[in-house]
């Protein structure tokens, strides 16, 4: 189908071949219509694998240590969420768990599920359903906001105690860059086009 409609203003465009690295924008509202990427599947898959490792490191190691007097407290991410649960702030705890742990995990797993078969020239089952879930959850992954939250907390606590950055903190930081790079290398239309719906 050489025609597409702009997803923001509904104007129909005829789509010509766009070279990788180029971009097609809507003539009326300027929305990005197509942005083909060079070697998209390969690069995104490599980033996903790095992301999975960083995710595991970030969630199993202490991200901040806190020393006040003789007391030392090390926290992994789960501790903070657990504390909120304990204090009957279950809704907030769930929200933090969802946006910082669950969504990024689903994000990485769904990419693995889609990209590994595509890399092997196979089309995974339920590709449309998994990719729709991925797109639906995308705005709810907020690791970069969480990172800023860590920085603000450090500034807030630095006068009160000694803050010791943990391994997870660096893994988090790296993971944010990996997720951002994945958003750049992934070409969503390339994924949708793998679905043979005309039978």
């Amino acid at each position: 189908m050489p025609y597409i409609a702009c997803h923001e203003c509904d104007l129909v465009h005829r789509l010509d071949e766009i070279p990788p690295g180029g971009a097609a924008r809507c003539a009326r509202c300027g929305a990005s219509l197509r942005r083909p990427k060079r070697d998209s599947i390969n690069r995104t898959l490599a980033l996903t694998m790095a992301g999975v490792i960083l995710f595991l490191v970030a969630n199993t190691n202490p991200f901040l240590g806190f020393r006040i007097g003789v007391q030392v407290r090390e926290t992994i991410l789960a501790t903070g969420i657990y504390q909120l649960f304990q204090q009957d702030m279950k809704i907030i705890a769930t929200l933090v768990l969802f946006t910082v742990v669950i969504v990024p995990a689903i994000h990485l797993l769904s990419m693995l599920y889609i990209l590994v078969p595509l890399q092997l020239n196979l089309v995974p089952r339920h590709l449309a359903r998994v990719f729709r879930l991925y797109m639906f959850l995308k705005p709810w992954g907020m690791m970069e906001v969480f990172m800023l939250g860590i920085l603000v907390s450090i500034v807030k606590l630095v006068k009160m105690a000694t803050i010791i950055p943990g391994v997870a903190l660096y893994a988090f930081l790296a993971l944010i860059f990996v997720l951002a790079a994945m958003a750049v290398t992934l070409d969503d239309h390339l994924i949708w086009e793998q679905i043979d719906y005309r039978r």
Binding site: E8, D10, V12, R28, A31, T79, L95, P139, G149
Partner: protein, 219 residues
């Protein structure tokens, strides 16, 4: 390789809706408008030309968020217990604390993310909704850009929720010092989530529909 602007089909603006077509909101496949409600043949999502009940849903969510915004700013988001003394902090008292302690860049970041961004988002969405309901012809490209801004900035309001989580996790030292989350945090989280759904509910195509309907003399 720069940005190539594609040219529309003809000089007259041609939208999928006018051509009897529907673009899938999920995978962007362009299909013929089905006579009865149908699913996208490619990705299986329900097909609609415009988001269903967009204006009513977006208004309901904007109003709900505006209501939550008040207790979110007035109620304490943290209770700090230090050697028996309890201190409650709202978002603004946290901002003022940072100004007093000299870290005004942090104060600015918190103020922008927690106070300014949610308010700006609610104002922009209300403005867009009113302009669409009045079938305004004023600068549709700029209004579309405003919509993109609301979509992009909303997530940053989660900042204070995360700060509370981290403080609660770290400052848990028995009688020496303890930080607990306050009720304001709950309302604040509600503001962030509800405004994100509100931006999701709004359909930017409506901005352009208002222009076309007048061109057609329908109104």
């Amino acid at each position: 390789m720069g940005t190539d602007r594609l040219s529309p089909l003809t000089d007259q603006d041609r939208t999928a809706r006018r051509m009897g077509m529907v673009a899938c909101h999920h995978c962007h496949l362009l299909c013929r408008q089905p006579p009865a409600p149908a699913d996208c043949p490619r990705c299986g999502a329900p097909l609609h030309s415009r988001k269903p009940n967009s204006i009513a849903r977006a208004w309901a969510l904007v109003l709900a968020a505006a209501v939550f915004y008040i207790p979110a700013n007035l109620l304490p988001i943290t209770h700090t217990t230090s050697l028996g003394a309890v201190q409650s902090d709202t978002i603004m008292s946290g901002v003022i604390y940072f100004i007093h302690s000299g870290s005004w860049p942090i104060a600015l970041v918190i103020f922008v993310a927690s106070v300014f961004v949610p308010l700006l988002k609610l104002l922009i969405l209300s403005f867009l909704l009113i302009s669409v309901q009045r079938r305004s012809r004023w600068r549709p490209a700029e209004r579309t850009r405003l919509y993109r801004i609301t979509e992009a900035i909303g997530r940053w309001s989660m900042l204070d929720i995360y700060v509370v989580t981290i403080l609660v996790a770290l400052v848990h030292l028995g009688a020496l010092a303890n930080i607990a989350a306050g009720p304001g945090a709950l309302f604040f989280a509600a503001v962030v989530v509800v405004t994100m759904f509100a931006a999701e509910a709004f359909d930017p195509r409506l901005i352009w529909d208002g222009m076309e309907d007048r061109d057609d003399g329908k109104h």
